[in-house]
Symmetry: C2
Subunit: 312 residues, 2 copies
């Protein structure tokens, strides 16, 4: 089966033609400062048509939109956008797709699609009980239980893994809750977390604007004590989150992805050892592993989504 797939981030969109577990072609277009999805649609249609023309001899079965917000996959609507493409809930993308490409459209949250992709073509092959967590600007995730994607009544189930409170006296999170992992240990919270360290002003981090995880890991490798403290604290936050996800969803595998995992060699062994020691799994040990497909994961989730492989 072939499909067209669009992974819609905040500042760019990747369009691809996929066939089964392979990516046949892809192009990334930038949103060029627009925050309205409607303004971007003509460019997306043009790009998808060009990519379809490249894969000439067969027709894709449909189009899949991967979106960084809350998506009602069943009814085909974007429900909540977290500030990105705020006009998306008002667009009838199914009709747009039919008109422009004469193809059916399915859409889903990007983390759920990434999990579907990893299960279909990546690090979760053969696994029916898997949780994914992505460490990046924010902390996202998705959960599959007994072969079914958890979606829930309002399409939020499984997606808010970065928003299980791990410090009930902690920082206010942009989601409204207190002490979420995203508020304590994501890229978006790092500048503030570092500034609050009592040793910050005498640390090499004080010269970095803003403090990124890349810079944190760099200064840690140079022996900076504050960087070490902050990274150690992030590791404990992520590890507690992973234990929470294991206790919530009962998976046999936890996949960790996202941009911060560029430093996987410093992160993964800690998470594995913490989970071995602290997760309550009398049946055995949960496998904690890196996601394998990077930015392609959500695009490669297109085929299993269209085929309904993880539907109830």
């Amino acid at each position: 089966m072939k499909a067209l797939a669009v992974d819609l981030g905040g500042s760019h969109a990747t369009c691809a033609l996929v066939e089964d577990t392979q990516m046949l072609a892809s192009r990334t277009v930038t949103a060029d400062g627009t925050t309205r999805l409607k303004s971007l649609l003509p460019l997306l249609a043009e790009t998808l048509k060009a990519i379809r023309a490249e894969g000439c001899n067969s027709n894709p079965a449909g189009v899949v939109f991967s979106f960084c917000g809350i998506v009602d996959c069943v009814r085909g609507r974007i429900l909540s956008t977290n500030g990105k493409f705020d006009d998306a809930p008002n667009l009838d993308l199914v009709a747009w797709c039919q008109e422009e490409l004469r193809l059916p459209l399915k859409m889903e949250n990007d983390a759920r699609l990434a999990l579907l992709g990893e299960r279909y073509a990546g690090a979760a092959r053969g696994c029916d009980d898997v949780v994914m967590i992505t460490l990046g600007t924010g902390i996202g995730g998705a959960a599959m239980s007994e072969g079914r994607l958890l979606r829930g009544k309002h399409s939020q189930a499984g997606c808010l893994g970065g928003h299980l409170p791990v410090d009930f006296e902690g920082r206010a999170c942009s989601c409204g809750a207190i002490g979420c992992a995203e508020a304590e240990a994501s890229s978006v919270s790092m500048p503030e977390v570092c500034r609050c360290h009592p040793g910050f002003s005498s640390s090499a981090l004080a010269t970095e604007t803003p403090v990124t995880f890349e810079k944190l890991f760099h200064h840690l490798s140079q022996g900076d004590r504050v960087a070490q403290d902050v990274v150690d604290r992030c590791l404990r936050v992520w590890a507690a989150t992973v234990v929470g996800l294991i206790h919530a969803y009962d998976p046999e595998l936890v996949l960790v992805g996202g941009g911060i995992m560029k430093s996987a060699t410093r992160i993964l062994p800690f998470l594995q050892s913490y989970v071995q020691q602290h997760a309550w799994t009398p049946w055995g040990k949960v496998n904690v592993a890196s996601a394998a497909l990077g930015n392609s994961a959500a695009l490669l989730g297109a085929i299993p989504l269209l085929e309904g492989l993880a539907d109830p």
Copy 2:
């Protein structure tokens, strides 16, 4: 439909005959110090036979065992007992039930059965997306999503709501994790939590051995500052846990039960207001309510369990 039901606690067992949403008869027997389920089985068989004889004119469809541990409902085995009736995983209760009562047996975790009971006959009627949390000696719970009980690969899903870490730098929990609600704000952890309060020795609580929630709420009402601090902290722990459960499972209703809810008037309004303020639910507001059936909930879960009303 009629069923026989057994709710097996640590120190006693309640046997009942239920018909649809009604309890027709019940008797509670004590475990009399035995920690072996095998020793208790003859008394259970005798009690169930007596109760069946009382409801003379019809045959129950089966027997349901509610157990305070991890239960594989599909295969009919108790998997993990947390120190209560440690011999249970080695017993073939299905065969025992067939032999003694000529009836099929189904078993399930007590919190899952309580949720089934509340949905069938109590405070969650008509609700397909509901999470239950029980505040007591430990903190337990269960989750239903889109009309299905979450069970998961190893029968742990949804049951460990008291073990989502809410303080990643907190107390070691008996489950092995760190900073679970059960370690921070359950009856079993209260004596230790109170002792750690800097004002404990000059508080009225210092004369209580052990410190129970009943005594905590009593001294709070007498103006004891330490009791106030400890209860306030427990409320924040429970509230963060409820937010975590909402973010994990996307329910429209959270039911709160358990022995500590004898003080519901002090607990429920706080939880409701905290959830209104801090849970991330762009679709609307989650209803937070008291469980309605108390100790009968798990027994009244027998019929929906036998009918498979919440199975995939």
